[in-house]
Symmetry: C2
């Protein structure tokens, strides 16, 4: 049988194939959830998921965060944050304050409007997540959470070892 009549999974032995299948399932699952959250935030609140995530990071940091701290917390590149903060500032949801003692940095804070908006949105957002995963029992939720934590450790370990 020539390669062209195989599925790309057939290039693997059994164990690898199981792990590839696991990855594909994780991807499908998180893609579905993310798409739904994105759609909900857009239609209900006219906001994007990255903007919501940035507000969440600020909400959990009452003293504000610098651009670099934001980029680390959100696991995205530093150049990325610039644009997202710009749009949130334009909409009046965040403020930039000069950082005393370092003229390179500024500290980003939630505005009062942004804080109120976020609390309303977060309640809905968290509810959507709970509803989507509501078909899992408490036991299954715990097991899945635990296994994902192990998976994260495996991935992290492998990545750090290659450096």
């Amino acid at each position: 049988m020539p390669d062209s009549h195989k599925t790309s999974h057939d290039l693997l032995d059994g164990h690898d194939r199981d792990r590839l299948r696991l990855w594909l399932r994780m991807l499908v699952c998180s893609t579905m959830i993310e798409r739904e959250l994105r759609a909900g935030l857009r239609t209900e609140f006219n906001i994007t998921l990255p903007q919501f995530d940035l507000l969440a990071a600020l909400h959990d940091a009452p003293d504000g965060l610098t651009m670099t701290e934001l980029s680390q917390s959100m696991m995205v590149s530093n150049g990325n944050i610039t644009g997202v903060v710009e749009r949130l500032e334009r909409d009046g949801d965040v403020h930039r304050k000069a950082k005393p003692g370092d003229r390179r940095s500024s500290v980003i804070h939630l505005s009062e409007q942004g804080r109120e908006k976020f609390i309303t949105m977060a309640r809905e957002h968290h509810g959507w997540v709970a509803d989507m995963l509501g078909g899992l029992s408490d036991t299954e939720t715990g097991q899945l959470s635990d296994l994902l934590s192990r998976a994260r450790r495996s991935v992290k370990h492998h990545i750090e070892e290659r450096d």
Copy 2:
């Protein structure tokens, strides 16, 4: 304690909080894997993940796929596919053929170059996935796969019910 001193998780009851934590873990895990795959494909083969995914879809469909079939298979919008196919065609990895009997559609095929390139890349790609998840035992891999499948059903069910 005012809302501003709470984390947004505190807006939830216990069960909802567990499911939110589950979602955050899934997101972190899939984001880490995806970033690593993206980086590998870029540095080793100078190709993007969406382009790789599109080649994979074509590889598993020897008779080619229309733009609409591609967009469904990849779970992205139809307008999206246009650009990805354009760039792959520019690089000589895919061809478009007129679809007999329907002048609106064209069918996208892998070129010979694209097919060879994909097989090489897929081997590496699948190996990276297996390595990253190699810290999980076979049993854990199976359990996680199974639980993700249940999670997918829960999400899908909830989404379809709201329509």
